[in-house]
């Protein structure tokens, strides 16, 4: 699928043309052209995704897995084809290793319930980190707080915003960690974590590893086999796909050993009043009517990014990151949070004397959408002494250097305005 544009050849990445694929990018906000720098919260959708969903609803919609009639067969085929598309996208061995959920949050909660409550043993620990999005922290806290004897440890983050691997090693050393659950890319700092190395360390200590790929899967080519992830999660709406769908990848043997999470239709083997047996994975974890049309949309999104080439997207974004790293720190009073070596297009910063909320309102009136707050990462903000929040600009495949320049200009103006 990478054939149209070879990975890394950013020169052929025609961002002006690509922007035309996204209807919303030609709208205006407060009379200004939209400068959308909040893709980290949720990305905009290309026409291909919107049209795939519309076409499904207009010509081949029915419930899946249940009907011996043409429409239902077509819907089932489309739904299962989306699973295969995700399998290939992640480099998973089999489509059965792909479970559709409603977002990353539910995917992580699924593991916290089924693996955390069903497989981990009292006396074991989950090891997460200070850098995490609440989605990869609160479910583990809830597990800890149920008094099942499952503890929780956090890997420290260093001042550059990188996971402290010595601390990771130290916290794995006693062999009591059953599961390491860390992000593959921070939604605040942009830090990309060394997933393969973390997996090796976890496995050497007898632990399984889950990566929260909500951000990473959007910006990098992910290969779950290469990094040897046991679980990997991402969410459709950040990958230029629909809301209402997320993905859990799990190694077949792990999924097979996990009890179900939610009960209902489509996840059963047989049901009597007394006793119910459960279907095999992935059906066992997909109770109820799944996000059918959303799967079709996600499939279209995956086709879209793989046709552009994840390598080309990464190269384009790397150029943007280099540009941002060159211009943003020159703005007077601006402090970037974190400075990891390996980072994606997410920049959280503070601007002296301007509250993030006021700044974001100011930028909005100039058409620039950025996020203010703590970005569902309160402990990380506390770690950097930024309880009051930061402003965050995050890039998508449609982001341009000109947009970053506009941001730079308006940040400088804002500082004057609020002086």
């Amino acid at each position: 699928m990478d054939t149209i544009i070879a990975p890394g050849t950013a020169a052929t990445f025609d961002v002006a043309r690509i922007r035309q694929d996204f209807p919303i990018l030609s709208t205006t906000v407060h009379g200004k052209p939209l400068t959308f720098l909040d893709s980290g919260a949720s990305a905009q959708k290309p026409r291909a995704v919107i049209e795939a969903m519309t076409r499904c609803l207009e010509t081949s919609y029915a419930n899946v897995h249940r009907g011996a009639y043409a429409l239902s067969e077509a819907a089932t085929e489309a739904y299962e084809a989306a699973r295969v598309a995700v399998q290939r996208f992640l480099g998973a061995a089999e489509p059965e290793e792909i479970v559709f959920t409603s977002n990353s949050t539910v995917a992580i909660n699924l593991v916290a319930h089924s693996y955390g409550r069903g497989v981990l043993k009292p006396g074991q620990f989950v090891l997460t980190s200070e850098i995490e999005h609440h989605a990869n922290m609160v479910p583990w806290q809830m597990l800890r707080d149920e008094n099942r004897g499952i503890g929780l440890r956090y890997v420290r983050v260093n001042d550059r915003g990188e996971l402290d691997l010595d601390d990771l090693a130290a916290k794995l050393a006693d062999g009591k960690v059953g599961l390491v659950a860390v992000t593959h890319m921070s939604n605040v700092l942009g830090t990309v974590t060394p997933a393969a190395q973390i997996a090796r360390m976890a496995h050497a200590a007898g632990a399984k590893v889950l990566f929260d790929g909500s951000q990473a899967a959007v910006h990098r080519h992910v290969d779950v086999a290469a990094i040897d992830a046991d679980f990997y999660v991402f969410t459709g709406h950040k990958l230029y796909g629909p809301t209402g769908i997320g993905v859990l990848y799990g190694k077949r043997a792990l999924l097979d050993a996990m009890p179900p999470f939610l009960g209902g239709g489509d996840m059963i083997g047989s049901v009597t009043l007394e006793r119910t047996t459960y279907a095999e994975a992935p059906a066992r974890f997909e109770a109820g009517t799944p996000p059918i049309v959303e799967a079709v949309g996600l499939h279209a999104a995956i086709d879209y990014v793989t046709t552009l080439g994840m390598g080309a997207i990464e190269a384009h974004e790397r150029a943007l990151v280099d540009h941002a790293m060159a211009v943003l720190p020159r703005i007077e009073g601006l402090t970037l949070i974190g400075g990891a070596q390996d980072r994606g297009g997410v920049f959280a910063f503070s601007l002296d004397g301007v509250h993030p909320h006021d700044l974001s309102t100011y930028l909005d009136r100039h058409g620039i959408a950025v996020r203010a707050g703590r970005h569902c990462a309160e402990p990380l903000h506390a770690r950097f002494g930024l309880e009051g929040g930061t402003t965050r600009a995050s890039f998508g495949l449609y982001t341009t250097a000109e947009e970053i320049d506009l941001l730079t200009v308006k940040l400088t103006e804002a500082r004057k305005f609020f002086a």
């Binding site: 010509t59 081949s60 897995h65 249940r66 009907g67 011996a68 009639y69 043409a70 429409l71 239902s72 067969e73 077509a74 089932t76 085929e77 059963i268 083997g269 047989s270 047996t277 279907a279 095999e280 059906a283």
Partner: protein
């Protein structure tokens, strides 16, 4: 997709429910639970309620006799019936291979007449036009495989 589906309409229906298939579905030859057997397993399709019990008697590594009790649609019954007719004399490796070929024929629509057994299984080639029915063909084969592997239950889902 509905538009892409065969335009021949109801014609296909008669193709699917061919005389051969319907005779197989009704064939009493290998039906019923035997008084004694060496291995058995049940195949269940939780979605539609189809269920096939397969019973086998062995002669060393080879199947001497196979019987079935099938509660299911005509395709399911026909598949169980043909299976029990074909497998006597075979080893597990051979039945696994044959089952895989039966599934292949049903999925792809490409028949095979390299031998008599495969030729007879080609009655299921038309099933590929009815994707949701492929598992009606495979249910009995999965059950046989489970029986020979010593597993008690299986499913075609």
């Amino acid at each position: 997709m509905n538009e892409a589906a065969s335009p021949s309409g109801a014609g296909d229906i008669a193709d699917l429910y061919s005389r051969t298939l319907r005779e197989l579905a009704r064939d009493p030859a290998h039906q019923g639970r035997p008084a004694s057997f060496d291995a058995t397993a049940r195949g269940d399709n939780p979605m539609c309620g189809d269920r096939v019990d397969i019973y086998v008697s062995l002669d060393g590594e080879r199947i001497r006799e196979a019987r079935h009790v099938a509660r299911g649609c005509e395709i399911c019954q026909a598949s169980a019936s043909l299976l029990t007719a074909l497998v006597p004399g075979m080893t597990r490796a051979e039945t696994t291979d044959l089952g895989r070929r039966a599934a292949g024929i049903a999925k792809t629509g490409i028949g095979d007449d390299s031998n008599d057994g495969l030729r007879r299984l080609s009655v299921f080639a038309v099933v590929h036009k009815f994707p949701s029915r492929v598992k009606c063909v495979t249910l009995a084969w999965n059950a046989l495989d489970a029986a020979l592997a010593g597993v008690k239950e299986t499913s075609s889902e």
